[in-house]
Symmetry: C2
Subunit: 530 residues, 2 copies
Amino acid sequence: MPITGENFIGFSRSAKGTRCLRAVDPTTGASLPEAFCAATDEEIEAAMASAQAALAAYGRLGGSAKARFLRAIADDLQALGDELVERAVRETALPPARIQGERGRTVGQLHLFADLIAEGSWCEASIVTADPDRKPLPRPDLRRMLAPMGPVLVFAASNFPLAFSTAGGDTASALAGGNPVIVKAHSSHPGTSELVASAIVGAARRTGMPEGVFAMLFGEGHTVGQRLIGHPVIKAAAFTGSQSAGRTLLDLANRRPQPIPFFAEMGSLNPVLLLPEALKRRGREIARDFAASVTLGCGQFCTKPGLLIARKADGLEVFIEELRACLARIPPVSMLNPKIHAAFRAARRKALDQAGVRCGAVSAVDAEPGAHEGQPTLATVAAEDFRRNPVLQEEVFGPYTLLVCCDDDDQLREVVKTLDGQLTATVIAEEDELGPYHEVIDRLGATSGRLIHNGIPTGVEVCAAMQHGGPYPAASDARFTSVGSAAIKRFVRPVCYQNWPSALLPEALQDGNPLAIWRMVDDQLTRDAV
Amino acid sequence: MPITGENFIGFSRSAKGTRCLRAVDPTTGASLPEAFCAATDEEIEAAMASAQAALAAYGRLGGSAKARFLRAIADDLQALGDELVERAVRETALPPARIQGERGRTVGQLHLFADLIAEGSWCEASIVTADPDRKPLPRPDLRRMLAPMGPVLVFAASNFPLAFSTAGGDTASALAGGNPVIVKAHSSHPGTSELVASAIVGAARRTGMPEGVFAMLFGEGHTVGQRLIGHPVIKAAAFTGSQSAGRTLLDLANRRPQPIPFFAEMGSLNPVLLLPEALKRRGREIARDFAASVTLGCGQFCTKPGLLIARKADGLEVFIEELRACLARIPPVSMLNPKIHAAFRAARRKALDQAGVRCGAVSAVDAEPGAHEGQPTLATVAAEDFRRNPVLQEEVFGPYTLLVCCDDDDQLREVVKTLDGQLTATVIAEEDELGPYHEVIDRLGATSGRLIHNGIPTGVEVCAAMQHGGPYPAASDARFTSVGSAAIKRFVRPVCYQNWPSALLPEALQDGNPLAIWRMVDDQLTRDAV
């Protein structure tokens, strides 16, 4: 499929602007040949008008029709075959196997949301029947369900060119909820984005979706992106990226004349508590697992364990020794783009320059000059130095982790108390040593979205029970998740129908329960008719 | 019970400040004798520290223990008897029957949330069991449920001295979710607030709740209130009141270093579409219902129908004539406080001064001088004048409504298109005339939280199926409701446990399902054990 660099507006393509973007091969720093045309104001307006026009027709579609659309996207993504993989590899320097795996996840997510809406119970239908004889006042008939919010803006992420980009989890969940989607393509992988957007538009045409159900615009975040978030047609938005970019967009969303829900997933230190007995019994194995987790995808996961907290005890030296040895053996690889590489180098340098921080290990393999490679790095610091220094709580996005050494359990408790909101918190421990740490674990639970026992935080399962989000600054609103089927809840809102004529009610709320979904009827969960 | 005017901090009372507030009898404008001591910075810090200290213990309590606490509050509210009713009547000028009814609703809400958490399924337990054989990677065991967010700040409302104040829906839902609550008492009914707070503290002591589970502070919104919303201990907040106060607090919540969820319910025009056939067949009856709804509680409900939209047709003149006659017969009564009365007079004057707006009717009974009475008022305006003038979309809080007369269905559609987010939208119509209005009704649905057919918007049923909220500016976040059992969702967040030792899991997630709640287990809704 030839790459044209045009924006996707409704079922048309458009390139009216004069500003162009080019992807960069991170392994060389050289620009790739194709030019992508930044959306003009006129094109933005056209995309918005098209999304607004599609809202009523798309929002009214039944779950099975929307599910067909999502499954068609999944099929068309698969059908892109090697072309997609090769393009994504060129634009991100991620290995082909990773891109293939990520495509599998992306396809899986689309099917997960298709299953969810085809089944239908996700809409939380709740019915309270009328009671005309109630005193002092009769009770009306009330029926409530989740409904679309309106056009959703999705900011594609750099670190998941498929699973959190054009047809990623945000797009899938917004479409599943009945909302037209406008994607702001990530400038780091525009060609990948164009291939995927073509698949979405093809699927939309094939399954008879209204034009305007999907649009994708190219442009820089601080121009096109900021203009999009302020547009009155947009009713909700999602973002995955850095804390600074996330906060900027969140503030813009909040300062609108009509503020909109903005879900930003902004990364995290993902602290890991290493308890003594576990280190003593299986310190080497744990070190190997964490060396792999820290450097997976060159440390460019939001769930990368960036902070290890351990108490000085028998097993700690062995653990550190093994972690050093493992990291020394892992070669540096190219990061997602030169900007991320530069940011990694700066953040790593800044962290290593803080008082009391020592470089504990680096990869023994030198980085290739000009290849924008991230050097696997372990730093160490004493608990007191960590506690005193908020700089050490800033995420270093890349293959870097900081080990905080505590003299005793009191220091360990104090270190945990200083932590901000996190996506994940991990406890590596034998079950029989957890007793004295309940308070610490409660505290970790109170500040994170996912609590892991004896595992690594990287690897986020896409399922109904996942929580990927957490107290600020891990995410902008801890009440939602950006991964798993519950992610749909970000983009829907309840609507209540009072004494509404049965024939005009959405099927989910009709007396006969034609969708055969689970509903709460007069305080009983049931699939029966009313 | 003697009223002391002291703040409630943990189980203690405190009055260290020098600034005092007094309630005002709205029927005379005279200050009531009791002085209420505005909380000092030191007292605010003490309340925050106490709430923070209570969080872990209270959040860990099972549903039945928290339910006992809520039911004890309900009992103690009832036990306050006539003293509470008399005080509330003096401070708000609402009639005793209304206060008694509101106490019934408040008690009912507490029992509703008690039932919800005693039953337990509200926490949305979701379990995906491990699959060690899955390829390419094993699937971990994942278990997700809703958990407390942390101390919740509740701003009491002026117009519901019981049901949306100290022990009102916000407090009940936040406590039900496992969060300590700090109430900012409303300066308009501090004595009522003190009586209710005493009941809450008594109930907390009697049922063995941790000290700090509840606090109540006196003070002005722009000093104490704004300080509270910025405090780092507060993790969420709720507010019911005007758009200007709501937006000010929302902006403060959003601009915190760590923004917090802030649910503001800010009122609404509650548009009513009056279709011709219904007006023709039962215009007089409809007029009588709406005259009563507009003036109920002196128009001081957030669901007061403030906008009637009708097409010129046979029945309209008869409807207007009857509405005029009804409003003329309804005497003015004292509003909640002199400030609200002054605001009503100013907003009514401003609306009546707009181009094309005519005063269609007022109460034939003169207002009592100095009694701060709101004069029931009907204004009329042509569709074109309404559409051109955003001032006419500003809520006039009080017994005022505006009838927009449309020449034809096209004008009617255009009027509906101009509407902002609403709490409710009502359609008065015979079922067989709805056909041509589907687009208009879709539009009303897209901008409101509750769609009513042939009813009045006042009277908000407290139940599982209620939605009281809507797109901005009706509420700050349309994804939540402030009335009904789903209101608990504002103050809880999901937490996921991965491969967590079974004995350490919350009961809701344990294999055996000891709470016998509904759970989603591997995509099946079930009450069975895993």
